[in-house]
Amino acid sequence: MTEITVYTARLVRTMEPALPLATAVAVRGDQIIEVGSLETMQPWLEAHPHRIDDRFKDHVIMPGFIDPHLHPSMAALLLPMHFTTALEWHLPWQDVPATRGNNEFLDRLKEIDLSMEDPDEPLFAWGHHPIWHDEVYRQTLNGISSSRPVIVWHRGFHTLVVNDATIKWMGMDEAEGERHPQVNMAEGRFFETGLALAFRYFNSFTLAPKRFAEGLERLRQVVHFGGHTTIGDMAAGMFDLEMEWPALVKALERDDTPFRVQMIPPGTPLGGGLKESEKLIERAVGLRERNTHRLRFYDHVKLFADGGFYAGLMQLGPPGAIEEHHGEWMTPPETFEAVARAFWNEGFKIHVHCSGDLGVELALDTLEKLQWERPRFDHRFTIEHFGVSTPEQVRRMAALGACASVNIYYVHELGDAYWKNKLGHERASQMSRLGTLARHNVPTALHTDFTMAPALPLNSAWVAVNRISEAGHVMGPEECLTLDQAMRAITVDAAYVLGLEHEIGTIRAGKKADFTILEQDPYEVGGENLREIPIWGTVFEGRPFPIKHKK
């Protein structure tokens, strides 16, 4: 039988109320055998071969961090691109500084241009936002390079601007662009439906198997770097599952990948109105046949209510927005209800993308009907994102047994912008209302929707505890979480939202030996400096994986 390894530590934070603190954890294979101290676990150790591993004697062991909602394929598309964002990003291979103002933005592009070895390689830069960077135009980008294609992609993904060399590289006829109502050739700008025209030319480059594989390798590093041992791919196959699946297996199902990926497929194709519910269920169930050790489909499914929060397409209830606002539905409400019913009646755990309060309302109205028709306990119906909501909706969530998985980074990155341009202060400061969720005991996880927010759980927890906007304002202090609530939201409660609480999320006998190893104790450091805590690395299924820190 496999030898028991006992990790002794300065402190083990189990996140189990029954035994919150310990100094040693015994592991056999991928499983925790006992938690406590070297003294208390003697009977196990006397009965079985074992060794003591004290490499964590100065460290704090926590349950492996969990991000229940991010998008590996989207990350694979984006991570090979250069980040030119208004906010700083910590990536395993690079600390991206905050870029503010038009001059700084253009300097940064120039710097990237000069750093690229191949003079013909297209320069894709992601992160432009007019609020911080002012507008850029085709002419401006011609100033960066007259020979290299330069493509500047908006932080919220809905616009891109290109230079002359890009048009040439695309082989696109100027006239073709000029006739498109959402392409401005003079400005080199492709927006909304015009983006599809641009990606028609870019896809063969950006989604080329080699580049996509490199992107997934970067994603693999990012996930480890954040201290995760489990993530949820919360719309598995978002581009094309048959293209993505083999790439995901190849990139992630490796002995040295220190995390698992729960695959949650969309219940309806994003385009819309499927009515053949039996086929939907059959397909969702059939996906499990391809499971590998780390990549697992199961009885969870993703549905979509309203449009995206960064894209500004959320559906807002009264009183709407400061300026004219056009929200969108990603699924017609009737279709949403029909598909939700089909999965509900089959016992699925349903996750619903909801950005605005009207989106939340649709999800809750539907849940209420389903509960009336066919009551279920412990159903884990989860509201995902939760940008704008009302306090009454939280109370309803509690009454209906719903969970929440919240993107808290909205408050940090968009808090000021949505205060000034969209929602006003009252509602902008109450975006991602975690405090109310906690007061109503709604099980709540934090997620990043990476690449919508940095995949750094301690960073998410930091925003949740402090609610400090990028400009330094405290947004809605009544909606803060306590430090303990925030740490639960990236461990035990995140496991609960993913339906994996019997396996992961806390450190106790019988669970997977998944740990995040910290250099400091979050509870000693306190909420204010939470995001500064260095991460040594992780233990995944019993095996230590140190993070290789950049020089």
Binding site: E192, G271, E276, E328, W329, L362
Partner: protein, 312 residues
């Protein structure tokens, strides 16, 4: 290639929008099974409600159903651009592409693909309306705004299920729709069946003239022909004043300001386009216009009177 040739080669796109249950699928089923002589490519959100006689299906390969009459029906899946490229790659190319917008889409947004996708031109935006429920839907807390956008986007508004309304409700609805859809021409149906000429316009590059006025059910086709050249400005202002009963018009024109080229007139609802076509060369120039109307008295006489005024 000149822009004029371009226009001739571009495949027209008609977008059919409207809320769930309005009758888009009935309309599309009619087009797919119809005896209209054109090879349509119809892009739908899913095959679930498409109802095609199995005997007509010649091939069914995942995303595409091919029919004996030359039409194909494809699912859009998640990427309209990809679906359009797929049907543009068919041999022979389709004569006309019909896109079914999702029940919550703004058809004006989908129409941008018709305006901007390589090889396509926009023929028109059709919004299908359930006459019985549209007013209730227009104030629905979830989809009220969406429904109003769909109405505002319409160039042709197809009113279904009008038999369920009283005379009074009928008139109220007509008046209300003139406010919500100022750009649209309204066509009424009971079973959602309409001739392809109304939905898609006249077939092909040429024009087919009926002898005098032809009547099909509630719709009338009238034609006008003259050897005399037309004055562009007077023609356009005359067309702008045409009554609401004119649903569609197509013309091949000989204009005074560019007598060397044909001009192609397309009218859908109230939107009128005039594009340069191929040169007349040796051919003797003339002007022909065909108009489809509903509820217009003496359509031929009216058309004759309207257009005689713009001949020089």
């Amino acid at each position: 290639m000149s822009p004029a040739d371009d226009h001739q080669l571009m495949i027209p796109v008609t977008v059919i929008g409207g809320y769930l249950g309005a009758g888009k699928t009935t309309l599309i089923n009619g087009l797919l099974g119809g005896d209209h002589g054109r090879r349509l490519a119809v892009l739908v959100n899913d095959f679930g409600e498409i109802n095609i006689d199995a005997a007509l299906i010649t091939a069914h390969d995942g995303d595409t159903i091919s029919l004996a009459n030359g039409c194909v029906c494809c699912t859009i899946a998640d990427a309209l651009g990809t679906a359009l490229d797929n049907v543009l790659g068919l041999t022979p190319a389709p004569d006309h592409i019909v896109i079914e917008a999702s029940g919550v889409a703004n058809p004006a947004k989908i129409a941008m693909y018709g305006q901007g996708w390589p090889g396509l031109r926009l023929d028109g935006i059709v919004t299908v309306v359930d006459g019985d429920s549209v007013r209730a839907r227009s104030t629905d807390k979830f989809v009220g705004t969406t429904v109003m956008q769909q109405l505002a986007a319409a160039e042709l508004l197809i009113l279904n299920k009008m038999d369920l309304l009283s005379e009074r409700q009928h008139m109220d609805l007509q008046q209300w729709l003139r406010g919500t859809s100022p750009q649209a021409t309204i066509v009424e149906t009971i079973f959602g069946q309409l001739p392809a000429e109304i939905l898609l316009g006249q077939y092909g590059d040429g024009i087919s003239l009926p002898d005098g006025a032809e009547s099909h059910g509630d719709f009338e086709t009238a034609a006008f022909r003259t050897d005399r050249p037309l004055d562009r400005a007077r023609l356009m202002s005359q067309i702008a004043a045409w009554p609401a009963g004119v649903l569609r018009a197509k013309g091949l024109l000989h204009l005074t300001d560019d007598p060397a080229h044909r001009y192609i007139l397309q009218l859908v609802g109230k939107r009128c386009t005039l594009e340069m076509g191929p040169p007349w060369l040796a051919e003797r120039p003339d002007s022909q216009i065909v108009v489809i109307s509903a509820g217009l008295d003496m359509a031929s006489d009216w058309l004759e009177a309207s257009l005689s005024a713009v001949c020089l």
